[in-house]
């Protein structure tokens, strides 16, 4: 499945992240590499750089990976996770400024047809308030 861009969903809540991933799987199917993470390592609400890095690995595609996040800390931790990866991987990761649930479905739909990482990001971000 390396022909399509991968999608990573990062939420403060594992339930939200998993729920968004379930929606992607149901609506778009299995054609897009997909991973989610949510919650801090202690089991509370939050995000973890380590878990985000692991999710990026699980959804890895040579075409690149698009990250969708919910709120503040999820974005900064996603940026940190990306910065801790080797430069050649960093170049293939984008963080999308889009609503996490809708953005994940939209990004996955765009990715499904083999669109480029840039197109996936642009499409997800088209959703932002108009």
């Amino acid at each position: 499945m390396s022909g399509n861009v991968g999608i990573v969903i990062v939420s403060h809540s594992p339930d939200v992240a998993k729920g968004a991933a379930d929606m992607v799987k149901q609506m778009v199917g299995d054609g897009v590499p997909l991973a989610w993470c949510g919650g801090d390592p202690g089991g509370g609400i939050g995000t973890s750089v380590e878990n985000i890095m692991a999710a990026i690995d699980r959804a890895w595609s040579d075409r690149g990976v698009a990250i969708l996040f919910d709120l503040g800390g999820a974005e900064t931790n996603s940026q940190m996770a990306v910065e801790m990866l080797p430069p050649e991987k960093q170049a293939k990761i984008v963080i999308c400024n889009a609503p996490v649930v809708e953005g994940a479905v939209i990004a996955a739909t765009e990715a499904w047809g083999g669109s480029s990482l840039e197109d996936v990001k642009r499409t997800a971000e088209e959703l932002s308030p108009q």
Binding site: Q26, M27, V28, V105, I106, T109, E110, W112, G113, G114
Partner: protein, 93 residues
């Protein structure tokens, strides 16, 4: 364009062209090389059927007519396939 084609179909799906049907239509459209557009009226505005954001934003309702047109390689097959998807109530999506 000689291989351009156009057709229309009434949407029967109970929520109209919402999230899941939109994803199904866009995914199907992406499987064809032709340029495919849909519209709520024959006069347009015509939107790119391969753009999930635009298809969802159309919010075509149940009982409304969906106009489909395509041009280029596989245009006739593309229009027929999308029409059939709508007739089948987006089943299997």
């Amino acid at each position: 364009m000689s291989d351009a084609t156009q057709d229309s179909v009434v949407i029967t799906h109970d929520v109209g062209l919402h999230a899941r049907p939109s994803v199904a239509l866009t995914k199907l459209a992406k499987t064809f090389p032709s340029k495919i557009e849909i519209a709520a009226t024959a006069d347009g505005p015509w939107i790119d059927a391969k753009s999930i954001v635009k298809v969802m934003a159309m919010k075509a309702k149940q009982h409304s007519t969906l106009h489909i047109r395509a041009a280029g390689d596989g245009a006739a097959q593309a229009v027929a396939a999308i029409k059939q998807l709508v007739i089948d109530d987006f089943a299997g999506a």
